[in-house]
Amino acid sequence: MIELKDVTLKYSSTKGVFNLNFNVEKGEAFGYVGPDNAGKTTTIRMLMGLIRPGRGSATIDGLNCFFRASAIQKNLGYVPEEVVLFENMRVKEYLNFITQMRGIFGQKDTRLRDSLIERFEVETRGKIENMSNGMKKRLAIVTALMHDPQTLVLDEPTSGLDPLMQSRLLDLVLEEKRRGKTVLLSTHKFEEVERTCDRVGVLKEGHLVENMDIVSLRAEETKAYLVKFAAPPNLEQIKKYGFGYLQFSQSDYEIFSPGDRIDVLMKVLSHEKVLVFNSKNQSLEEIFQQHYQKEIKHKENKKEVKNKEVKNKEEKPKLFPKKEEKHKALPDQEKKVSEVKKA
């Protein structure tokens, strides 16, 4: 079990991590997401005992991460974001060295190690310095898992891997989770969290702005359905139950429903003659975007109340700057809806 209490480490007033509080229970996979420079790696380095927190305490299985790092490491596997190994060593030599550093000498059981090597297709001949970055990452994964640790701390483990290996790694994470392991997976890819994690924490500028399970996050999602009707539908009825819609043509609509009201939508639509009913799946990323928009709007409203002159469209904290455009689509859609209504 991983536990962080009020963990703070300031590099400067905006850089660092601030008052982090979260737990990862045994048998749980925790997705730790956030943009670059949010402080994910800093947090993980603290868990590894490489950095001492300025304030607060981080523990793994009840042991202090900084002062009892060596005891923790007995049962922990860590894949760093940036893999740096001993370049002048051969692969087999390195694996043996790490095994020995873990206090295992002489005849040892290498079945798990060999199966991991096979699974991730690690080239065991040759020197580490001649390996590609992806291969180094795979080697780091083997090193982190070959002693069958109880806790897994993975810092962007899929970066630098090809899609096949990414998929294999995520499968492995799922398997390990089912075996009761505690997993902390840091990433900026939402689909990885979606696929493997039970809970997700969002880090932004050093603050944990969200910590919730995937199911309730899903409930907050607005689902979109592409519907084709045989006859013009009863739009009044749809509106009455609070569903938004977008009309493309006489018979084609996109209907929006909150994640927890899909059953109501089904009932409403059961009175219509529906030809096609396709769900337009939203990724977690889009859900986050919506989620954020709410929060940001909320904050803005507060600010505006306090100071009406502040026009802070540009001061909006940007979580995922590149993806902002997608996000703006929603208010536009609303506009369209209202236009349709007027028409």
Binding site: R45, L50, I51, A69, S70, L85, M101
Partner: protein, 266 residues
């Protein structure tokens, strides 16, 4: 101490040790070879060509007529500062700061070994390799002397000379090691690791130039070791050994302390 790590250090750094051991051995062997038991006349003649101040600075001011004294003044007076100093600077940096800077130190700390254990292993390797270096020198010196001038070397004094020089080098090494543990970048580690011994060396050299600069020697660690004084029996070898040992101990503890509490770079 971690045995696999110690073995890895041996594998990584033996070439460096070998280079220095061979260079210094050749130098020592040549010095013994050119010794002329009938008198050091030729050598004195050669020195008289050079300016006195320079000769003094290099520690060749007084040339003892005995073989042990000859070795002490020509080898343990000047070169013994330079060669091992370079070795210490390079090795101390390689053992800690270089790995920390590159990031591979993380893979050591992600094994169930405490920082203290790992850093103590590195420190022990540093000290052990210096001990090996001086053992080689002692054996080469002894062997060469017995080969060319049997019975002329005062073995006990020569041994004292080596032990003194060895401990002095270890002290210098510990200074470098401390900075290697303190800094996360090789640049700073090398800068301070080199600054201190070179500073000592310069102060020591300047102090020998003239009477008026003699006080500078008080600030140099190298002044604590005087090869000729050991040969003449003027120096208290126990005091020298004890003093260096305390220095080594304090610096080692400081290095381990600093390293075990510091934040490693992200």
């Amino acid at each position: 101490m971690s045995i696999p790590l110690f073995l890895k250090n041996i594998k990584n750094n033996t070439l460096l040790l070998l280079v220095f051991a061979v260079l210094m051995s050749i130098y020592l062997a040549v010095i013994i070879y050119i010794y002329d038991p009938s008198g050091v006349g030729a050598m004195v003649d050669m020195m008289s060509i050079l300016p006195t101040a320079l000769v003094n600075a290099m520690g060749f001011g007084t040339i003892d007529s005995g073989l042990t004294g000859f070795i002490a003044s020509l080898f343990y007076g000047f070169l013994i500062y330079l060669f091992p100093m370079v070795y210490c600077i390079i090795l101390a940096n390689r053992l800690v700061a270089k790995w920390v800077y590159e990031g591979s130190f993380t893979s050591l700390l992600c094994t169930p070994n405490s920082r203290i254990k790992i850093i103590v292993t590195q420190g022990i390797y540093l000290l052990a390799s210096i001990a090996v270096l001086f053992t080689v020198l002692f054996l080469v010196g002894y062997g060469m002397s017995e080969q060319f001038f049997p019975g002329m070397l005062e073995v006990k004094v020569f041994l004292k000379l080596n032990i003194g020089a060895c401990l002095m080098t270890m002290t210098i090494a510990m200074f470098c090691f401390f900075f290697s543990c303190l800094f996360n970048s090789t640049k700073l580690s090398l800068f301070f690791g080199a600054l201190i011994p070179i500073g000592f060396f310069i102060l020591n050299t300047l102090s020998k130039l003239s009477e008026r600069t003699a006080f500078l020697g008080k600030f140099s660690l190298y002044n604590a070791f005087d090869g000729l004084a050991i040969v003449n029996g003027q120096a208290n070898i126990t005091l020298i050994i004890g003093g260096f040992a305390i220095f080594i101990g304090v610096l080692f503890v400081a290095a381990v302390g600093v390293f075990s509490m510091k934040r490693l770079p992200v």
